[in-house]
């Protein structure tokens, strides 16, 4: 009890001392070996984190001699530029060097590959800072593609184990299945059946389960320090939304199309006005699905990383420890968002499928 009370004045003194250190110039503080301000460096780091890359870089650091070290491994680059060109991304030396392949020269610029004329070739930019260099067709196995393969392997392993458990043990789930079974049942009973209906839900269960677990696990992996996140790449969410769109469109029955092109129960002039709006709506729905997942995860990562970046910007123990605490709390919130976005994506997909197969007996 005594010790607790004695801590208070000490904390107050330390707090006041930390205020003194605020007087120090925080902005324009230059790193001794790069010449960049800390602020610019944090910004660059966040932008780099959000991008796909050609090598699997776990982390980079600078030695005391100012030499940059990258820990990770290179990935294959596959280009179609008048013939197939396959080479290792280590030839780019993390964007510092021009790669020479069969007499062609390629250079990395903002994480994209451009063709340059010579080993000393530079990227030429127009007045809007858009490079005018030619970009070859790119089929590279990038970090995100590796991540998709890893997710594929992980999910196959998890659900194979679950299926094997049922085979060995009858109806009782074992191991992995014990964790997964309630989630699978939840998706069936709370998402698929109420939204799609008893009659048709079985056809869509495989997709709903796949998309739920894929988005959820990918979001969770995005929060690990490995730093690979798929769902903040708009191409990945585009593909997921496109699958939902294709399934909805191809499972649409007579009633679904009738409600789009010739809405029953409204006057004819209204029907003519409603048809293009409803048709547009079918595209907007998957588009919103794509944007929602992408924007939520990207925004979460940017906020989280900015707050972690504040640790280095504030440069006093109070500010830094407070931003660390805030980052911790936000990371917990991101765990919730990871599951919530997977849930929302699944529910909305189920809702759209339900609209497509709904039967209107009451008309």
């Amino acid at each position: 009890m005594h010790r607790k009370i004695a801590l208070k004045p000490i904390a107050l003194v330390l707090f006041l001392l930390s205020m003194v250190s605020y007087g120090k110039d925080q902005h324009g503080h230059e790193e001794p070996n790069t010449g960049k301000t800390t602020e610019a460096e944090v910004k660059e780091y966040i932008q780099h984190h959000l991008k796909d890359s050609y090598d699997f870089n776990l982390f980079s650091y600078k030695t005391d001699a100012g030499e940059e070290k990258h820990i990770g491994f290179p990935l294959p680059v596959i280009l179609w530029d008048n013939g197939l060109k396959v080479f290792s991304s280590s030839r780019f030396h993390h964007g510092e060097a021009v790669a020479e392949v069969d007499g062609n020269f390629y250079k990395l610029h903002h994480s994209k590959i451009y063709r340059v004329e010579s080993p000393e070739g530079e990227i030429i930019e127009d007045e809007h800072q858009h490079p005018i260099n030619e970009r070859p067709l790119d089929f590279s196995i990038t970090k995100n593609v590796v991540m998709i393969f890893m997710m594929f392997a992980l999910m196959l392993f998890m659900f194979r184990r679950m299926a094997m458990g049922y085979k060995l043990n009858g109806r009782m789930p074992r191991g992995m299945g014990r964790f997964l079974e309630p989630i699978v049942l939840y998706i069936r009973d709370e998402i698929a059946i109420p939204n799609i209906g008893e009659k048709h839900y079985k056809r869509y269960m495989s997709y709903l389960l796949t998309v739920f677990f894929f988005v959820w696990i990918v979001n969770l992996f995005g929060l690990t320090p490995i730093g690979m996140n798929l769902t903040n790449n708009i191409a990945v969410t585009l593909c997921l939304a496109l699958i939902t769109y294709v399934i909805t469109t191809f499972s649409g029955n007579k009633n679904y199309w009738k409600h789009i092109f010739w809405m029953p129960g409204v006057p004819v002039p209204m029907k003519i006005i409603l048809a293009p709006i409803e048709l547009l709506g079918t595209f907007i729905k998957p588009f919103a699905l794509m944007i929602r997942l992408y924007a939520n995860i990207t925004a979460g990562h940017v906020v989280l990383m900015s707050i972690i970046g504040m640790v280095f910007l504030l440069e006093n123990w109070l500010g830094s420890s407070l931003s660390f605490l805030l980052a911790f709390v936000l990371a917990i919130l991101e765990l919730l968002v990871a599951a919530l976005q997977a849930y929302i994506f699944t529910v909305l997909s189920a809702l759209y499928f339900g609209m497509a197969v709904e039967e209107h007996d009451h008309h």
């Binding site: 919103a288 944007i291 929602r292 919530l340 849930y343």
Partner: protein, 63 residues
Amino acid sequence: MEIPAIVGAGLVVIGAGIGIGRIGGSAMEAIARQPEATGKIQTAMLIAAALIEGIGFAALFAV
């Protein structure tokens, strides 16, 4: 990025915030009135909130 666009995005975010706030508030009232329907209300609330959020993000990306 120009100033009118930023102001417009800000207005949309305010609108989306009001919308999600209203959904949350109404859901609270509904749960207080009918605690046995909590699960259903929560599901409907999340879906509606997600739909509004989509609009908000669309506006932000238009900037």
